[in-house]
């Protein structure tokens, strides 16, 4: 549905997207994940036909985004990051205007507006001026607009940014439902969001794709970086001996304060050492006041990935 081949975008001196390629099949929700400034919005803008690429090609729904831009634009729904809207228009007027621009007429347009306002919970706000709506409601208006012509491909740039937790949950649910009938490409810098919503994720950092796979594959990649933190009251050397004796333990940092021994355990991939820690603690009659998995954050992952990239570049 979306094919990107050797896409490069350069803004004067900045290389925003650096020779990326990926394919997206029909259907499902695809997450486009990366830290701020990674090139997500640039890539999305190229796919939405807002900016042309410096190099490379991209096709959406079978049409080239540069050569057949109008055909692509007829087949996509796009929600830009900041959800720009006309504040003086009422929600209904805005959707009518957008429907007309997409060539929808009469009853088709009317029923489409009814459908999207229902799905985006906008029914009671339909006659309100957009300028009076909250950030969350504006986001829904933008989403309703993107869905208006029942497009084959929905491109959503950070659709949950600035929403409150209830709205985030509702929006994610809606996006999951949309993924059943449409191909949804959504960008986010929140790993958790991509895990919750997407069937496939593409990770981008510094303009390059660094990972591309299902959330399960991603999770494995992240969890291998996770550490288990435990605080145990007991003799330091004995605690250390016990923890080093556990199967699956790769490395341990030990620190002790006021009789409490703090362990930061790095385990081998797919190995959960928490049960083992609990068992030897109770067996020795020691006290345990904390045990948790200190998952590597997305930020950590990106710091690591980008550092690796810089190393390879400087070589």
């Amino acid at each position: 549905m979306i094919q990107v081949t050797n896409l490069t975008k350069r803004y004067s001196s900045v290389l925003a997207v650096d020779n990326i390629s990926f394919n997206v099949e029909r259907g499902g929700v695809i997450g486009f994940l990366g830290p701020n400034g990674a090139g997500k919005t640039t890539t999305i803008r190229i796919l939405a036909c807002y900016h042309p690429a410096t190099n490379g090609t991209a096709t959406v729904a079978g049409y080239d985004v540069f050569k057949d831009s109008i055909e692509v634009r007829k087949r996509i729904g796009y929600l830009p990051e900041s959800t720009p809207l006309y504040p003086e228009m009422r929600v209904r007027e805005y959707l009518q205007f957008r429907g007309k621009l997409r060539g929808m007429v009469g009853n088709d347009r009317k029923s489409a507006i009814g459908r999207v306002t229902d799905r985006c919970w906008l029914g009671e706000f339909i006659n309100r001026p957009i300028g009076q709506l909250s950030k969350g409601m504006k986001q829904r208006v933008g989403l309703a607009d993107a869905m208006l012509n029942d497009p084959e491909v929905l491109i959503l740039d950070e659709p949950t940014i600035g929403l409150d937790p209830t709205q985030i949950r509702e929006t994610r649910k809606l996006i999951r439902e949309l993924g059943e009938r449409h191909t949804v490409l959504l960008s986010s810098h929140i790993l958790h969001e991509v895990e919750a919503v997407c069937s496939h994720a593409i990770i981008i950092a510094k303009g390059k794709i660094v990972a591309n796979g299902s959330p399960q594959e991603l999770r494995d990649k992240f969890s291998s970086e996770a550490k288990v933190i435990a605080e145990i009251k007991g003799p330091e050397n004995e605690v250390e001996k016990s923890i080093r004796g556990l199967t699956g333990v790769e490395d341990v940092d030990v620190a002790s304060t006021n009789g409490w021994v703090r362990l930061a355990v790095k385990a081998k991939q797919n190995c959960d050492v928490r049960e083992g820690i609990f068992k030897f603690t109770t067996a020795n009659g020691w006290s345990l006041r904390e045990i948790r998995r200190d998952g590597a954050t997305l930020e950590d992952f990106f710091v690591q990935v980008t550092a690796q990239q810089q190393q390879t570049r400087s070589r």
Partner: protein, 239 residues
Amino acid sequence: MRNILTMAQREIGAYFLSPIAYAVLAVFLFSSGLAFGLGTFSAGSEASMRQVFEFWIVLILLFVLPMLTMRLISDELRSGTIETLMTAPVTEIEVVLGKFLGGMMFFAILLAGTLLYPIILSMYGDIDLMFLTCHYLGLFLLGSLYVAVGLFFSTLTKHQVVAVLASSALLALMTFASHAMANRMEGWLKVLLQQLSVRTHFHDFVRGMVDLNHLVFFVTMTALFLFLSVKLLEMRRWQ
């Protein structure tokens, strides 16, 4: 074509929802009324709009029309709605023509407001309808060039104040300055400046003459600025 009308319709709606349009309407009617009341509307003077149209209305439009056109594209650039607009299936030409048409519709409303003056005049004297039609045709052509220039500067910058100042400055140069300079020049330069001066071409309309030469001038100049706006909008995508 349908997209052009859709755009124009939205612009007209946006005008009537913004306080600026009402302010512009008020300023225009007040100042043109003042020019009419003090200049033309007196015992013994001729029953025509010639005096008002010759200078005052042109001067007023030179400041008023850029205020109308400043937001047309500038506002879309500032608020970012240009992104949703240009990712909808519309071309740059449709956007520019739609915005132009919207501006022209509002300008037509302004002009309609001035019809009151000839109506008042007709109560006191005999008005030559052909003469009046000629005046309005000239003014309409002049206005369309002004709207096109304003639209061009609105495409150039996201700062509306800059758009207004730049449009008024260029229009003043095209209308009055080139005319005044032509009078001081000799030879081909004089002819060139005269031919480029809006005032030269507008003047015959005020005298009651419709010359193809003048029609062509206004239509091509308007088309030129619309074309430049389209190109500018296309260029923005590459930035």
